[in-house]
Symmetry: C2
Subunit: 362 residues, 2 copies
DNA sequence: GCAGCAAACTATAACGTTATAGTTCCCACC
DNA sequence: GGTGGGAACTATAACGTTATAGTTTGCTGC
């Protein structure tokens, strides 16, 4: 036990900036707790007790201090608190990438929920690069965020490093199987259900050769999806095929063009993508090789982005409550911060049938 | 002088969370600079000098300290540095809202540029609410971010409060005319050019009644756009009309439905929106009242989102280098952090003509 | 050989906060 | 009336860092 996370040294990158800030820059005097205490005529400790609703101070003094705080516009300096307590009043949100609008709503839900709880949010995008993930993790640790919501890429090293270094709460987003030895909350889309819905939909339309576009194997969420997809072959009668592609639009178009250029005997008639973003790559590739989406080839996306229904043809997609996913992740983290244990939330999906899926060409 | 920002008291909201974190929570011992110093056999000060490339320490010791730091996996604790120096190694990015994908690319460019410079980024979304903007500003100040990139809503009070409280650098994003008395860098889309391009395009197609959809007057960016739009009436022969609407899709559809229900004698034949996001509201409204976009009514969007060319009909839009905008904002901030003065960058636009704009119905 | 001095290093204080240990004061109790 | 004890408050130390002041060392120049 206790093995499996040895990459600590690689993360010894200083998170502080290296710019040569003007040393002569005027430093404004800040209004500190002792200023408040002086104004209220009590000691700093008493003021601290008063503002933090701790016992050991009379109601009169408590009121006096609070009034002085408002009067002076006092706001506790996070660095002071963090230095003393190890808590910064913020949580970290470390996501796979910021270009996919999927995460935008997740962020919104997460952010709004944290804001309600008075928690700050520090966002970092790993951009699908493990080294960047590790780097961001270091800055989160160094900034002493109180909890971490992680949509991981790569192995479980980030999660275990976090755990070892901080012993603070962690929530996995869309990584059900990730790092099973770590006691983390888990919030994720029901990807098995999603794949099942998509395949059933296509099989129901008559398709027998179905392909799933997924990112290379390091990305655990896609891993799981691929597993479910292949497993469905036993249950539903169809020929499964996986297409591996990077998440970038242009790279995906390349790969997909190759697949769609195959003869009509072998190429898939139905394509399932892991995002609407990737689905538009199928549109581009189909157009490049002279095939019509919704006629010659069917496409089922994933996420149901706001604009997907305006695509031409409109995109059949698996809808997910992204905002709710973000809210659930934040709540799980907040519960843990409050002393509760870890929890697991599975967010259900709904297939929205539109024009991009149709019976296969005969 | 020195007047005009009196809302300091409203911001006395404690930015720290109020959750009752388990006091019994184990606090991991962190590896500190003194640990490194001990390992290297020198004083803490010497270690500090060594790692910060300051004079006053021999090359041998410098090497020894750096080695020890790597060995121990030392990362400077931000709270310690911030407490001592007032610098946190992070900058704040305070944007209008996180739902509009426009800002996503801006964030990406900003984030990537800051990451390169070793700067952390703290993102906050004001969600078009002045009080939220003020609140976030307080947390940014309390967290001692080293600089602020602000896409402001409402008046200049946030900017001047930032300036008064911190005297640190600030960059305005898409707010050319905002708070002219403040010495800030300014990075913005050439909105005058954008409006001119859109109007010229529509007038060139034969339109004479053109409407501009803009947010209520508090949003300074739209303010400016509206000004340019109205001013163009002198130069180009057309009847200008402004439609005021909130930025939310459903609210916009309501307003636009009313406008499009007017008789064909009075309703605008060309509509210019301030975002592609809002343009889809025109699509919905047109569909609701039985008009066809690209036939009965022309629409010009703004931003040229990735999915806009897949809309049906494909959307004519003003393309902006959003990522570049984010990069420019980050650079301006970084330059100021390096001691340089403020700068101004105007990002040009390009009109991309597609199917949603056509000659007006006869 | 000793004053003078720079280079290399160390000791210390301070940033703002909170937890702990200590102090004062008042009141109840024997 | 002294004592025990709790409530209300204060003094102090510590979190990790860096800037300043202070100390030691070695070397140059007369």
């Amino acid at each position: 036990m206790g093995k499996g996370h040895d990459s600590m040294l690689t993360a010894a990158i200083a998170p502080t900036a290296s710019y040569e800030w003007m040393m002569t820059m005027e430093r404004r005097r800040r209004v500190s707790l002792s200023d408040v205490a002086r104004a209220a005529g009590v000691s700093t400790s008493a003021a601290s007790f008063a503002l933090n609703s701790r016992p050991g101070v009379s109601d009169t003094v408590r009121e006096r201090v609070k009034e002085a705080a408002v009067q002076l516009g006092y706001v506790p300096w996070v660095s002071g608190v963090a230095l003393r307590t190890g808590r910064s009043g913020a949580v970290g949100l470390l996501i796979r990438n910021l270009r996919n609008p999927f995460f935008l709503d997740v962020i919104n839900g997460f952010d709004a929920t944290c804001a309600e709880a008075g928690l700050g949010v520090v966002i970092g995008s790993a951009d699908y690069t493990p080294s960047r993930e590790s780097e961001l993790l270091s800055t989160f640790i160094a900034r002493e965020v109180d909890g971490l919501a992680l949509a991981p890429i790569g192995g479980g090293s980030a999660a275990s490093r976090w755990h070892d270094a901080t012993a603070k709460p962690i929530v996995f987003i869309n990584a059900a199987q990730h790092a099973p030895d770590i006691d983390a909350s888990r919030v994720h889309v029901d990807s098995e259900g999603a794949v099942r819905q998509a395949v059933k939909h296509l099989v129901g339309l008559g398709h027998s050769r179905i392909a799933l576009v997924a990112a290379p194997k390091e990305h655990s969420a896609d891993n799981e999806r691929t597993g479910c997809f292949l497993a469905l072959q036993g249950e539903l009668a169809f020929e499964a095929r996986t297409i591996s592609s990077e998440m970038r639009h242009d790279r995906a178009v390349e790969v997909l063009t190759n697949v769609l250029e195959e003869s009509s005997e072998t190429r898939p008639t139905g394509i399932i993508t892991s995002s609407d973003y990737l689905a538009t790559a199928v549109y581009s590739a189909a157009s490049d090789v002279g095939l019509r989406v919704g006629v010659d080839v069917s496409v089922v996306g994933h996420d149901d982005l706001a604009t997907s229904r305006f695509l031409s043809p409109s995109l059949t997609s698996i809808a997910v409550d992204r905002y709710g996913l973000g809210v659930a992740a934040a709540r799980a983290l907040i519960h843990q911060l409050g002393g509760a244990g870890t929890s697991t939330v599975v967010v259900p999906t709904t297939l929205i049938a539109r024009q991009s899926s149709c019976p296969p060409p005969t």
